[in-house]
């Protein structure tokens, strides 16, 4: 192989490496509307799993993209929006902190409606402060079946 060819190949590899490095460095969190959920579970079963054994549930769900089905208990709006899923009489809920780039879709959601929401499970707050137990999902989007 000619010396110039080798230099050319090395340069190409370096450029690809640099391009990949910069791309990886600047990578944003994925928009979950374009991500497939690993698991689909209903809200009461998800909170029950954490109540029963939180460390086992952490292993299964923590940091995973999951889809949760359930009834909308309430919708909290502030800077962003949180949709609270669960049975009306229960102290346990799944709190879905909605992705701020998808807030327009939240406007149509009503209390009592059955929805499917996709989000990244960030953990569980047991009922230590008398506020009820919550499983928290982040970067949530409404999942259109």
């Amino acid at each position: 192989m000619k010396r110039s060819t080798i230099i050319f190949i090395v340069l190409i590899l370096a450029a690809v490496g640099l391009w990949y490095g910069i791309k990886e460095f600047n990578r944003k969190n994925a928009d979950l509307a374009n991500v497939t959920a690993k698991v689909t579970i209903d809200a009461p079963s998800l909170t029950a799993a954490f109540e029963k054994d939180s460390s086992a549930a952490n292993k299964t769900y923590l940091g995973k993209i999951i889809a949760v089905t359930g009834t909308v208990k309430s919708i909290e709006k502030g800077d962003g929006a949180t949709i609270v899923l669960g049975n009306a009489g229960s102290m346990s809920s799944v709190r879905c902190s909605m992705d701020t780039t998808h807030l327009a879709e939240v406007a149509s959601v009503k209390e009592g409606q059955a929805v499917k929401i996709k989000g990244s499970c960030t953990g569980y707050n047991p009922d230590e402060m008398g506020l009820g137990a919550d499983v928290i999902l982040n970067r949530c989007v409404l999942d259109k079946q």
């Binding site: 990886e24 460095f25 600047n26 990578r27 944003k28 969190n29 994925a30 952490n58 923590l62 940091g63 909290e76 502030g78 800077d79 962003g80 949180t82 709190r95 902190s97 990244s120 499970c121 960030t122 953990g123 569980y124 707050n125 230590e128 402060m129 008398g130 506020l131 919550d134 928290i136 982040n138 970067r139």
Partner: protein, 185 residues
Amino acid sequence: MMKKNLLTLLCFLTLALFTHAQDRFFTKSGKIEFFSKAPLEDISAKNKTAQVVLDAKSGALQFSVLMKGFEFDKALMQEHFNDDYVESDKFPKADFKGTITNNSEINYTKKGAYTVKVKGKLTLHGITKDVETTGTIKVDEDGLKTASTFNIKLSDYKISIPSIVKDKVSNNVKIVVDCKLDPLK
């Protein structure tokens, strides 16, 4: 006569409910941010799902923050934060349990801004340390606005910085708390 009695009773009940409601304040969507200045790059992340309870009577204050709830601008940074720094699979939560030491100076029923002194224990990465800071509480008609800024050292919580970036990542982290608390009904 009966009507008047009922009315009085109703008034007392409402008053009781009202005063009871102002005993405790809470939020489940508190904002906690952290900043770290570094030669390589400034690092910052925001958590919008902090759970906070404040007991106005005793001044007891409690925070619970899920580590995986910190959002970074860059996904790679968020992954490193979770995997290499705070090890959020092993230690999913940070919490603070403390008290407002000058709680008697705060009138939770009167509009205004108060400077508060807070003392307590912060548990992060499985390590518990004493923390002392000052902050503000603004009392208004629909609740409290609480704010505080304080610094922690990563080394205090045995959060190690990988040696290849040791000179580029700061050991000092600034934590900014900004939570709107609602009366607990």
